[in-house]
Subunit: 281 residues, 2 copies
C-alpha cells in the first residue's frame, strides 16, 4: 500500500478500536456523530491524502482532504488526525517515515501552506480555543477571512502552529518532531493482537500519560488532568485483566460530554507509523 | 463524491451494518476474518475502483481492485461485492447509475475482460463450486492457467458469467440487469436511519426472500432454503419490534459456519446505488 492508503486505513483502524473512552468507536455512536460519519470522512479524505503523496503542497493537500472529509452530516470527524497525517504522508512519500523527515516537511511549510490550513476551516466547524493574546487577527476560526492578515504578516503554517504549541497537542506534534505520534507508532508495532485493538490500548496509555488538550480547551485544565488520572486508574485495572473500570470510565466521559479527541488523533498518526513499519491487518 | 468513492464507502457501510447473520459485521469478528480485514480490503480496492471510473477496462479494473483488496491476512473479503461494484462504477462514470447502463457495460465485455476476471483469482482464495459439466477447462479456480482456454474459445467475461448464472447470485445479477442490486438500492434509499443500519435490514429482507447462493454451494440447496425460511421468521419478529430471534438466528449461523456472503455482496451493491441516489451519512 502507498502512504496515502496507509493514512486512510489508519483513520479507519483508529475509529474501529474499542473501547476508546469518550469517543465514537466500533461500539459507540453519539446521536449526531456516528461511526459511519467517520467511515465517510475517511473515504472523503482519500483524494487529499493522495495529493499529499503526489506533488501538491502540504497546505493544498490538507485543504483538499478536509473538504473531502466534510462530505457527511456528522461534522468534524478527522480534522486533527489529518493535520498529522498529511505532513506524514508527504514526508514518507518524499523520503522516509521518520521524525526527521516529518520535521523537515513542516519546517519547510510556506505562507501558502498556512493559507491552505486557514481555508480548511471554511469546510467544517472545528472546536478551537481563543487565540493567544494579541493574535486575534490570526484566529483560525476566521478561516479564509484571516488570509490577508496571514499573508501580510508572512506567517508560514509552521509559524501558526508554533503560536499554539503550548496549548494544542497537534501543534505540539508539529514542533516536537511528532514525538508522541512516533512513540505511539512504535508501541502499536510492539503490541500483539488486532491493529484496531492495539490502537485502543495505546489511546488509553496516552490518555493516562498526558492530559488531552482538546478536553483542556473545552472543559479546563483541571478536568483534563482528572481525566488523565482516571485513565491511569483504568489502565492499571486493565493490566490486571479487569476491564470493568475502563467501561465505567468510558460511560462517564460520554455522560459528561468529554471527548479526548486529540489523543485519538495521535493514535491515528501512530497507526500510520505502525503500518509504515510493515505491521498490517 | 465520485462513483469510485461511493463504491469504497459502500464496502465500508456494508460491513458496518449489524446484525448481519452469519457474516462479519460491526459487532462480529471471526477468529481469522475480522472487521479490520474488511476495512483494509476496502482501502486496498480503492485504486482499482478509481481505474474503473477512469479509462481502464472492466476486467483490468477488477483485477486491480481484487489485488488491492487482498493486501491483508483475512483472505477473501469483498471479491463478490467488487464483481458488482466495478461494472456499476464504470457504468455510472460513463453514463448513469441504472440497470440499462450496467447491462450495457457487462454485455460489452471482451475476452480480455474475461482474462482480467480469471487473473483476479490468482490473488485470493475464493470459494467457488465445480464448473458446469464439460466446462472444466474454464474452471475459474484455475485462475490465469485457464486463460489460454478462454482465449481459444473466445469467451467474454459476460459469456463466463452466463455459464454460472443459474447457480451463482452474482453471475445472475450480471445477466438480469443487476435486478436485486437496484431493488436493494431503492429499498435502502426509502428506509430511515443510519445507512449501515438500513443495509443490515435489507440484508435480512433479501435473505428472507431468496436462498443465498454461496450457502447453497457450500452447504447444499436444502440448507440455503432453510436459512431463507429462518430469516423470514426472524424478519417477522423484527417487524413486531422483537429482535431476539434475529440474534439467536445470527449466533446459530455462526456456530454452523454458514455465511450468506452473496447476500452481503448484493447489499454492498445496493448501498452504492443508494449513495448514487444522493442518500449519504
Amino acid at each position: 500500500m502507498t502512504p496515502a492508503e496507509h493514512a486512510q486505513l489508519a483513520l479507519l483502524l483508529e475509529v474501529a478500536g474499542t473501547p476508546k473512552p469518550g469517543n465514537v468507536d466500533r461500539d459507540r455512536d453519539f446521536p449526531d456523530l456516528r461511526f459511519e460519519h467517520f467511515l465517510t470522512g475517511a473515504v472523503g479524505s482519500g483524494a487529499g491524502l493522495r495529493a499529499a503523496e503526489a506533488d501538491a503542497s502540504v497546505g493544498e493537500a490538507f485543504e483538499e482532504s478536509v473538504a473531502g472529509m466534510s462530505q457527511q452530516s456528522g461534522g468534524n470527524t478527522q480534522f486533527g488526525a489529518l493535520c498529522l497525517l498529511v505532513p506524514l504522508v508527504k514526508a514518507t512519500a518524499e523520503k522516509t517515515c521518520s521524525p526527521e523527515s516529518a520535521s523537515e516537511v513542516v519546517e519547510g511549510t510556506t505562507v501558502e501552506d498556512a493559507v491552505g490550513f486557514y481555508r480548511a476551516f471554511d469546510h467544517v466547524n472545528v472546536f478551537v480555543d481563543d487565540p493567544p493574546e494579541g493574535a486575534d487577527e490570526f484566529d483560525v476560526r476566521r478561516g479564509s477571512d484571516a488570509v490577508p492578515a496571514i499573508r501580510e504578516a508572512g506567517l508560514t503554517w509552521y509559524d501558526v502552529m508554533e503560536l499554539g504549541a503550548n496549548e494544542d497537542g497537534i501543534a505540539h506534534e508539529w514542533t516536537s518532531g511528532f514525538e508522541r505520534t512516533f512513540e505511539a507508532g512504535e508501541r502499536i508495532a510492539e503490541l500483539d493482537g488486532s491493529l484496531s485493538g492495539r490502537g485502543a490500548r495505546v489511546y488509553l496509555e496516552l490518555l493516562a500519560h498526558e492530559p488531552d488538550t482538546l478536553v483542556a480547551k473545552k472543559h479546563g485544565k483541571k478536568t483534563a488532568e482528572s481525566v488523565r488520572v482516571r485513565a491511569q486508574e483504568a489502565l492499571q485495572e486493565v493490566r490486571k485483566g479487569e476491564p470493568e473500570l475502563l467501561h465505567a470510565f468510558s460511560d462517564s466521559l460520554v455522560e459528561n460530554g468529554i471527548n479526548p479527541g486529540t489523543t485519538a488523533d495521535i493514535v491515528a498518526g501512530g497507526l500510520f507509523v505502525a503500518l509504515e513499519r510493515g505491521i498490517r491487518p
